[in-house]
Amino acid sequence: MMTPGMVLGAAFGYLLLLFTIAWYGDRRAAQGRSVIDNATLYALSWGVYCTAWTYFGSVGRAASGGMWFLPIYLGPMLAMLLAWMVVRKMVRIARTYRITSIADFIASRYGKSPLLAALVTLITVVGIVPYIALQLKAVSAGYQVLTGPSAAPVTAWWKDGTLYVALALAAFAVAFGTRHLDLAERHEGMVAAIAFESAVKLVAFIAVGAFVTWGLFDGMDDIWARTEAIPELRTLLRLDQSAASFDYAQWFALTILSMLSVLLLPRQFQVMVVECVNERHIRRAAWLFPLYLLLINIFVLPIAFGGLLHFGPGQENPETFILSLPLASGAHWLALFAYIGGFSAVTGMLIVETVAVSTMVCNDFVMPSLLRLGRFGSREGGDLTRLLLNIRRTAILAVLMLGYFYFRVAGEAYALVSIGLISFAAVAQFAPALLGGMYWRGGTRAGAYGGLIGGFAVWAYTLMLPSVAKSGWIPAGFIDDGPFGLTLLAPERLFGLAQLDYLTHSLFWSLLANVSLYVGLSLARSPSAREASQALLFVDVFRRGGTEPVFWRGRARLDDLRALAGRFLGPVRAQALFDEHAREVGVPVPDLVADARLVDRVERQIAGAVGTASARVMIESVAQEEPLSIDDVLEILDEASQLRGYARALEEATGELRAANEQLKSLDHLKDDFMSSVTHELRTPLTSIRALSELMLDDPEMEAAQRQEFLGIIVSESERLSRLVNQVLDLAKIESGHAEWHNADVDLRALVTDAVRATSELFREGDVSVALDLPEAVPLLRADPDRLTQVMLNLLSNAAKFVPRAGGRVAVTLRDEGESLAVSVRDNGPGVPLAEQATVFEKFRQGGDALTRPPGTGLGLPISRQIVDHFGGTMWLESEPGKGACFAFRLPLRPDGKAGGNDNGHESADR
């Protein structure tokens, strides 16, 4: 056993550490360097789902029911599979409309109804207080396990340590949950502390699990082997325990229940939606969080069975095995660490839950009442931010004290797990109104009222009331016999439905009533204009760009709006709000017009502080509003979608312009390259011509032979220059489509033969043999014979340039391929290196190396290819380096459309 001082000291030391972390997180947030802008910390903060109920209750449940502890964690797994859609949509809606609690969310969706917000708050408080009591009970029970049964049981409440824990936690929640009035209700320091707590409880639980599994036993298989030896334990890990067959309905109900709870519990809404820094983090958190749940559950069974084996069944309370096992084995420090782990599970839950509930109580209970009392009439009164904070602080304290009171009165009546499930079933009642409202435009306020009231009533009657009765506060007889002896109305067997266990039974009837009323009433009456407009804003939150419709018509005075904002936001924030709006509109603040957009903006900011419903009331109090009809809503929507249409058209036009500009830029680049190459090719012969001419000019005495050599060079370089100019012009004409084509029926066989004959002199000089391989006859094709001759001469002269000095061979073939004719010119020269094959048809890419390269402009092949292309054909190169090159082209006999050209008789381009 440990001394109370030690345990209390550790607990308060731990709280101090939390304070430090939260303080640091807040300070960093104030500096704009968020510590929690991180998907992993975000996921850890979701771990607030695991409370004392997980930490102590799961082991208890596993020790008595085997696998039954698991569905509560499988449900969240399934919910997380949809988080990227559902949670992200909730975050987006909450962000856009400054929604800070689940009550606000539902009320805002159904036309900013204050009554609906109050109803949701009421259900939350009633449902959550037992859950808070459960946490306090865990702290107290754990404490007793660690310090041993105290000699004199604590009777006086002021001597009860649990009370002081509750007070300390209230102090924490006040300090970091209501330090200042944040317009988005975000508390970075608190979230940082919560993420830390999640890590602590996970590590502590795993540490004890590992200690039990490998310290006390010899691995998981050892625990199981020993368990199997005990007949009353061996069936625990089967679905069909003892005689009763497995209750699949309850298993399914628990899965669905926890699936909804993980989205709808106030603390989950707080950490997932309200505290979300960046909605992209949801993507990763959605799988990290179930992973967290899996890890924290791995050792549940080993600890449960280890405890049962160690102490013997029925000897110790399984819910505190995690403490009693290390303690019984002398591992006191581990027991203390385990206690801190459980303590962190408790504190995390209590802090976030009370902050979330206090926001709801303040915004949806207290403020509307104060507004109704007229204490804050439209135009008088000063800054209200301090009052708001104080209301919240009081609410936090009140909720915790309510929980403590419940714990003192009813805490001993129930096992932890049962209390938790009652709370789960209560918040599950929000599902139809909230999820339906996010995806179904047709849901109305009447439907939401009906569903919530009906579901809550059935929940209270079938679940809450029997639990109260079982605690002995009211006679329990009606549970079995029904009220006034009407067995048909027996709360756990409504209408004689006795096949379901009490939880599934309650969940079934309450959700059935809830959904039926929600859908039925929604369909029965058409929504008001405000409900319809809010429905559109919620359901289509992802569809809108910057041009959201503002569903407001009326007149307001700028001064009134400024005064109102000043009172709820504080003068500094109010000024910033108007300055920003003025900057966006482009006029100075005093000249601002209180139009729909400004009114909407002010309303949203105030909503962040006091909730949407109260904000609506406040705006109504300072503006003369015109009631909106459904037609008005449609009209406004129409305007907005027109605007959106313009915006989209503009965006498309911009996109096209951008693309065109890119294209021009790249063409410009190409042209630049081309010009640069042409310049180079023109300047090179000019250099020789100018240099040699100047040398001769400077030296009249130059030897005749020298002078003769120079003049020869000048002439040949001049020829090269004019050839180049002609080819550049030729290419430019073909490329720009200005070339003239004189088409005729061409006999390609005759054309090839003529071209070979024309170059025979060239080949004879180089002692090159030319082999012709031509068919007897080929069909005529329609083309410009002069241009084709140009192509042939180019290919033949290229071949002549590259064949070896001695033993050069050139083979010319013509093939009739049915649809087309193919010509190839093969030489036995050095071939074209692989690296150059791809670029050989580009301009100014001359083959061969500079030393031996025969004169050429580097434009012959590009021009030839352009010509062949023009007639719908293709030109290509086949070459293996070292084994010669084969240039070939293929022309279709019936070019499809584009080829050919004008059959006029004008002079063709010079060449």
Partner: protein, 121 residues
């Protein structure tokens, strides 16, 4: 024996004119027809000045220039870069590679001769 000047250019006719000029100025002329030959000759013959064409197949004038500046043996060789491309970016690149001067083709023979005299002075 006169000062050694290397002419590196892949255009034979330009080499003819340059070598005539350099000989007339009284230098001893060496000739290289591409970049790698030029580099090899610079290392072997250690000419005082190189007339280096920027655009040669294989190893370009820029590459040669960088290689010379990186080689402590021949780092002091004076380099006059010749180019037929007149773009600003080419001039910048040549000077960036470490050339001492830069002349565009076609050039004035008098200017070139004067430039070479200056650089060898």
């Amino acid at each position: 024996m006169g000062t050694k000047v290397l002419i590196a250019d892949d255009e034979p006719n330009i080499v003819v004119s340059l070598s005539f000029m350099m000989k007339r100025e009284g230098y001893e002329v060496l000739i290289a027809r591409d970049g790698s030959e030029a580099l090899a000759m610079i290392r072997a013959e250690k000419p005082r000045l190189v007339l280096l064409d920027a655009m040669m197949p294989g190893m370009t004038g820029f590459d040669v220039c960088e290689a010379v500046r990186a080689d402590p043996e021949v780092r002091e060789t004076r380099i006059l870069m010749l180019t037929a491309k007149g773009r600003e970016s080419d001039v910048a690149r040549g000077l960036g590679a470490g050339a001492d001067a830069y002349i565009t083709k076609p050039f004035s023979t008098r200017d070139l001769a004067a430039r070479v005299r200056d650089m060898l002075a």
